[in-house]
Symmetry: C2
Subunit: 145 residues, 2 copies
Amino acid sequence: MELALAEARTAAARGEVPVGAVVTDSAGTVLARAGNEVEARRDPSAHAEMLALREAAAATGDKVLPEATLWVTLEPCAMCAAAASFFRVKRVVFGAYDPKGGAVEHGPRFFAQPTCHHAPEVVGGVRESEAAALLRDFFAGLRQG
Amino acid sequence: MELALAEARTAAARGEVPVGAVVTDSAGTVLARAGNEVEARRDPSAHAEMLALREAAAATGDKVLPEATLWVTLEPCAMCAAAASFFRVKRVVFGAYDPKGGAVEHGPRFFAQPTCHHAPEVVGGVRESEAAALLRDFFAGLRQG
Protein backbone atom coordinates (compact mmCIF):
# COMPACT_ATOMS: atom_id res chain seq x y z
CA MET A 1 0.00 0.00 0.00
CA GLU A 2 3.02 2.27 0.47
CA LEU A 3 3.59 2.23 -3.30
CA ALA A 4 -0.07 2.90 -4.00
CA LEU A 5 0.04 5.91 -1.65
CA ALA A 6 3.17 7.11 -3.48
CA GLU A 7 1.30 6.84 -6.79
CA ALA A 8 -1.58 8.81 -5.28
CA ARG A 9 0.82 11.56 -4.12
CA THR A 10 2.39 11.72 -7.58
CA ALA A 11 -1.07 11.95 -9.13
CA ALA A 12 -1.93 14.88 -6.83
CA ALA A 13 1.26 16.66 -7.90
CA ARG A 14 0.06 16.32 -11.52
CA GLY A 15 -3.31 17.85 -10.61
CA GLU A 16 -5.14 14.54 -10.64
CA VAL A 17 -7.51 13.31 -7.95
CA PRO A 18 -5.02 11.44 -5.74
CA VAL A 19 -5.73 7.76 -6.12
CA GLY A 20 -2.99 5.21 -6.67
CA ALA A 21 -3.06 1.50 -7.44
CA VAL A 22 -0.57 -1.35 -7.49
CA VAL A 23 -0.95 -4.94 -8.66
CA THR A 24 1.23 -7.60 -7.04
CA ASP A 25 1.61 -11.30 -7.78
CA SER A 26 1.37 -14.14 -5.24
CA ALA A 27 4.98 -13.50 -4.13
CA GLY A 28 4.28 -9.81 -3.55
CA THR A 29 6.25 -8.73 -6.62
CA VAL A 30 4.92 -5.56 -8.22
CA LEU A 31 3.44 -6.28 -11.66
CA ALA A 32 2.15 -2.77 -12.28
CA ARG A 33 1.60 0.56 -10.56
CA ALA A 34 -0.36 3.59 -11.67
CA GLY A 35 -1.91 6.81 -10.51
CA ASN A 36 -5.13 8.35 -11.69
CA GLU A 37 -4.64 9.84 -15.19
CA VAL A 38 -8.12 11.17 -15.94
CA GLU A 39 -6.86 14.71 -16.61
CA ALA A 40 -3.63 13.77 -18.37
CA ARG A 41 -5.41 11.42 -20.78
CA ARG A 42 -8.64 13.44 -20.82
CA ASP A 43 -10.30 10.08 -20.21
CA PRO A 44 -12.76 9.64 -17.32
CA SER A 45 -12.13 5.89 -17.44
CA ALA A 46 -8.39 6.29 -16.75
CA HIS A 47 -8.71 5.43 -13.07
CA ALA A 48 -5.57 4.13 -11.37
CA GLU A 49 -7.03 0.64 -11.01
CA MET A 50 -7.94 0.32 -14.71
CA LEU A 51 -4.46 1.37 -15.78
CA ALA A 52 -2.72 -0.90 -13.27
CA LEU A 53 -4.88 -3.94 -14.10
CA ARG A 54 -4.28 -3.58 -17.83
CA GLU A 55 -0.56 -3.02 -17.34
CA ALA A 56 -0.30 -6.04 -15.00
CA ALA A 57 -2.05 -8.33 -17.48
CA ALA A 58 0.20 -7.06 -20.25
CA ALA A 59 3.25 -7.65 -18.03
CA THR A 60 2.30 -11.26 -17.35
CA GLY A 61 1.15 -11.92 -20.91
CA ASP A 62 -2.00 -13.42 -19.47
CA LYS A 63 -5.56 -12.15 -19.82
CA VAL A 64 -6.43 -12.77 -16.19
CA LEU A 65 -4.62 -12.33 -12.89
CA PRO A 66 -5.95 -15.11 -10.64
CA GLU A 67 -3.07 -14.88 -8.14
CA ALA A 68 -2.88 -11.10 -8.03
CA THR A 69 -3.74 -8.55 -5.39
CA LEU A 70 -5.00 -5.12 -6.42
CA TRP A 71 -3.94 -2.50 -3.88
CA VAL A 72 -5.72 0.82 -4.22
CA THR A 73 -5.87 3.87 -1.98
CA LEU A 74 -9.64 4.38 -2.41
CA GLU A 75 -12.59 2.00 -2.45
CA PRO A 76 -13.10 1.10 -6.13
CA CYS A 77 -16.04 2.51 -8.09
CA ALA A 78 -18.40 0.25 -10.06
CA MET A 79 -16.25 0.46 -13.19
CA CYS A 80 -13.08 -0.59 -11.40
CA ALA A 81 -14.75 -3.19 -9.17
CA ALA A 82 -16.25 -4.85 -12.26
CA ALA A 83 -12.88 -4.67 -14.02
CA ALA A 84 -11.14 -6.30 -11.01
CA SER A 85 -13.71 -9.09 -11.27
CA PHE A 86 -13.18 -9.48 -15.04
CA PHE A 87 -9.39 -9.65 -14.53
CA ARG A 88 -10.16 -12.30 -11.86
CA VAL A 89 -7.85 -10.84 -9.23
CA LYS A 90 -7.64 -12.89 -6.05
CA ARG A 91 -7.78 -10.00 -3.64
CA VAL A 92 -8.64 -6.30 -3.49
CA VAL A 93 -7.08 -4.27 -0.68
CA PHE A 94 -8.21 -0.67 -0.45
CA GLY A 95 -7.49 2.32 1.77
CA ALA A 96 -10.22 4.92 2.26
CA TYR A 97 -13.90 4.07 2.10
CA ASP A 98 -15.89 6.03 -0.50
CA PRO A 99 -19.56 6.42 0.48
CA LYS A 100 -20.14 8.78 -2.48
CA GLY A 101 -18.80 6.65 -5.29
CA GLY A 102 -17.56 3.34 -3.93
CA ALA A 103 -19.08 0.12 -5.25
CA VAL A 104 -17.56 -2.48 -2.93
CA GLU A 105 -18.94 -1.51 0.49
CA HIS A 106 -21.34 1.14 -0.84
CA GLY A 107 -23.89 1.65 -3.61
CA PRO A 108 -24.07 -1.37 -5.89
CA ARG A 109 -21.76 -3.53 -3.69
CA PHE A 110 -20.80 -5.14 -6.93
CA PHE A 111 -19.00 -8.22 -5.63
CA ALA A 112 -22.16 -9.28 -3.75
CA GLN A 113 -24.37 -9.06 -6.86
CA PRO A 114 -25.63 -12.24 -8.51
CA THR A 115 -24.36 -10.79 -11.80
CA CYS A 116 -20.78 -10.75 -10.42
CA HIS A 117 -19.17 -14.01 -11.50
CA HIS A 118 -15.87 -13.66 -9.68
CA ALA A 119 -15.73 -11.95 -6.31
CA PRO A 120 -12.22 -11.28 -4.99
CA GLU A 121 -11.45 -11.32 -1.28
CA VAL A 122 -11.74 -7.76 0.02
CA VAL A 123 -9.82 -5.94 2.74
CA GLY A 124 -10.84 -2.33 3.28
CA GLY A 125 -9.47 0.46 5.45
CA VAL A 126 -5.76 -0.32 5.04
CA ARG A 127 -3.86 2.91 5.82
CA GLU A 128 -7.25 4.52 5.50
CA SER A 129 -6.41 7.78 7.26
CA GLU A 130 -3.41 8.54 5.04
CA ALA A 131 -5.35 7.75 1.87
CA ALA A 132 -8.31 9.84 3.03
CA ALA A 133 -6.06 12.74 4.08
CA LEU A 134 -4.53 12.88 0.60
CA LEU A 135 -7.98 13.21 -0.95
CA ARG A 136 -9.19 15.70 1.67
CA ASP A 137 -6.12 17.92 1.23
CA PHE A 138 -6.44 17.77 -2.54
CA PHE A 139 -10.07 18.87 -2.59
CA ALA A 140 -9.43 21.53 0.11
CA GLY A 141 -6.69 22.90 -2.15
CA LEU A 142 -9.06 23.01 -5.11
CA ARG A 143 -11.64 24.95 -3.11
CA GLN A 144 -9.00 27.45 -2.01
CA GLY A 145 -7.45 27.64 -5.49
CA MET B 1 -27.93 0.43 -34.10
CA GLU B 2 -27.26 -0.99 -37.57
CA LEU B 3 -23.62 0.05 -37.25
CA ALA B 4 -23.35 -1.41 -33.76
CA LEU B 5 -24.75 -4.71 -35.06
CA ALA B 6 -22.21 -4.59 -37.88
CA GLU B 7 -19.42 -4.10 -35.30
CA ALA B 8 -20.78 -7.07 -33.35
CA ARG B 9 -20.76 -9.26 -36.49
CA THR B 10 -17.18 -8.21 -37.25
CA ALA B 11 -16.22 -9.02 -33.67
CA ALA B 12 -17.74 -12.51 -34.01
CA ALA B 13 -15.73 -13.08 -37.18
CA ARG B 14 -12.57 -12.28 -35.17
CA GLY B 15 -13.55 -14.84 -32.51
CA GLU B 16 -14.74 -12.22 -30.05
CA VAL B 17 -18.01 -12.31 -28.12
CA PRO B 18 -20.20 -10.37 -30.58
CA VAL B 19 -20.95 -7.03 -28.99
CA GLY B 20 -20.67 -3.76 -30.89
CA ALA B 21 -20.95 -0.13 -29.84
CA VAL B 22 -21.29 3.22 -31.56
CA VAL B 23 -21.20 6.74 -30.13
CA THR B 24 -23.11 9.46 -31.99
CA ASP B 25 -23.35 13.18 -31.36
CA SER B 26 -26.56 15.22 -31.08
CA ALA B 27 -26.86 15.35 -34.88
CA GLY B 28 -26.52 11.59 -35.18
CA THR B 29 -23.00 11.78 -36.59
CA VAL B 30 -20.84 8.82 -35.67
CA LEU B 31 -18.01 9.83 -33.33
CA ALA B 32 -16.68 6.34 -32.75
CA ARG B 33 -17.50 2.69 -33.35
CA ALA B 34 -15.95 -0.43 -31.91
CA GLY B 35 -16.43 -4.11 -31.41
CA ASN B 36 -15.42 -6.17 -28.43
CA GLU B 37 -11.61 -6.67 -28.44
CA VAL B 38 -11.11 -8.70 -25.26
CA GLU B 39 -9.31 -11.52 -27.08
CA ALA B 40 -7.37 -9.39 -29.54
CA ARG B 41 -6.00 -7.14 -26.80
CA ARG B 42 -5.94 -9.89 -24.18
CA ASP B 43 -7.69 -7.32 -22.00
CA PRO B 44 -10.96 -8.22 -20.22
CA SER B 45 -11.76 -4.51 -19.96
CA ALA B 46 -11.69 -4.02 -23.75
CA HIS B 47 -15.48 -4.11 -24.09
CA ALA B 48 -16.94 -2.42 -27.16
CA GLU B 49 -18.46 0.38 -25.06
CA MET B 50 -15.18 1.25 -23.32
CA LEU B 51 -13.31 1.45 -26.62
CA ALA B 52 -16.03 3.50 -28.32
CA LEU B 53 -16.42 5.94 -25.41
CA ARG B 54 -12.66 6.59 -25.21
CA GLU B 55 -12.40 6.97 -28.97
CA ALA B 56 -15.39 9.34 -29.09
CA ALA B 57 -13.94 11.56 -26.37
CA ALA B 58 -10.59 11.60 -28.15
CA ALA B 59 -12.37 12.49 -31.41
CA THR B 60 -14.14 15.46 -29.87
CA GLY B 61 -11.12 16.55 -27.82
CA ASP B 62 -13.41 16.78 -24.83
CA LYS B 63 -13.31 14.69 -21.65
CA VAL B 64 -17.07 14.24 -21.51
CA LEU B 65 -19.79 13.60 -24.07
CA PRO B 66 -22.90 15.34 -22.71
CA GLU B 67 -24.73 15.36 -26.04
CA ALA B 68 -23.78 11.85 -27.08
CA THR B 69 -25.73 8.64 -27.43
CA LEU B 70 -24.05 5.31 -26.76
CA TRP B 71 -25.57 2.57 -28.92
CA VAL B 72 -24.63 -0.94 -27.89
CA THR B 73 -25.96 -4.33 -28.93
CA LEU B 74 -26.03 -5.74 -25.37
CA GLU B 75 -27.11 -4.28 -22.03
CA PRO B 76 -23.94 -2.76 -20.52
CA CYS B 77 -22.18 -4.46 -17.61
CA ALA B 78 -21.30 -2.55 -14.43
CA MET B 79 -17.93 -1.46 -15.80
CA CYS B 80 -19.40 -0.02 -18.99
CA ALA B 81 -22.48 1.47 -17.33
CA ALA B 82 -20.25 3.30 -14.84
CA ALA B 83 -17.98 4.43 -17.68
CA ALA B 84 -20.99 5.76 -19.64
CA SER B 85 -21.92 7.74 -16.53
CA PHE B 86 -18.35 9.09 -16.10
CA PHE B 87 -18.28 10.16 -19.77
CA ARG B 88 -21.64 11.82 -19.07
CA VAL B 89 -23.38 10.51 -22.16
CA LYS B 90 -26.90 11.77 -22.61
CA ARG B 91 -28.45 8.51 -23.68
CA VAL B 92 -27.73 4.79 -23.71
CA VAL B 93 -29.59 2.68 -26.27
CA PHE B 94 -29.01 -1.06 -26.05
CA GLY B 95 -30.19 -4.16 -27.89
CA ALA B 96 -30.40 -7.44 -25.99
CA TYR B 97 -31.07 -7.60 -22.27
CA ASP B 98 -28.40 -9.40 -20.23
CA PRO B 99 -29.83 -10.97 -17.07
CA LYS B 100 -26.48 -12.69 -16.36
CA GLY B 101 -24.14 -9.71 -16.52
CA GLY B 102 -26.14 -6.57 -17.27
CA ALA B 103 -26.01 -3.67 -14.84
CA VAL B 104 -28.67 -1.34 -16.22
CA GLU B 105 -31.87 -3.38 -15.90
CA HIS B 106 -30.29 -6.22 -13.90
CA GLY B 107 -27.94 -6.78 -10.97
CA PRO B 108 -26.61 -3.48 -9.62
CA ARG B 109 -28.92 -1.33 -11.83
CA PHE B 110 -26.12 1.16 -11.64
CA PHE B 111 -27.91 4.24 -12.97
CA ALA B 112 -30.46 3.97 -10.16
CA GLN B 113 -27.83 3.84 -7.41
CA PRO B 114 -27.34 6.86 -5.14
CA THR B 115 -23.61 6.58 -5.94
CA CYS B 116 -24.34 7.19 -9.64
CA HIS B 117 -23.93 10.91 -10.20
CA HIS B 118 -25.02 11.08 -13.83
CA ALA B 119 -27.75 8.78 -15.09
CA PRO B 120 -28.24 8.81 -18.87
CA GLU B 121 -31.65 8.23 -20.42
CA VAL B 122 -31.95 4.53 -21.24
CA VAL B 123 -33.73 2.75 -24.07
CA GLY B 124 -33.44 -1.04 -24.02
CA GLY B 125 -34.51 -3.76 -26.44
CA VAL B 126 -33.75 -1.94 -29.71
CA ARG B 127 -33.30 -4.63 -32.39
CA GLU B 128 -33.11 -6.97 -29.46
CA SER B 129 -33.77 -10.20 -31.39
CA GLU B 130 -30.95 -9.59 -33.88
CA ALA B 131 -28.47 -8.69 -31.14
CA ALA B 132 -29.49 -11.70 -29.07
CA ALA B 133 -29.34 -14.03 -32.08
CA LEU B 134 -25.75 -12.99 -32.78
CA LEU B 135 -24.75 -13.89 -29.23
CA ARG B 136 -26.75 -17.12 -29.23
CA ASP B 137 -25.25 -18.27 -32.52
CA PHE B 138 -21.75 -17.39 -31.34
CA PHE B 139 -22.00 -19.40 -28.13
CA ALA B 140 -23.74 -22.31 -29.94
CA GLY B 141 -20.78 -22.36 -32.35
CA LEU B 142 -18.32 -22.45 -29.45
CA ARG B 143 -20.10 -25.41 -27.89
CA GLN B 144 -20.04 -27.30 -31.20
CA GLY B 145 -16.44 -26.31 -31.94
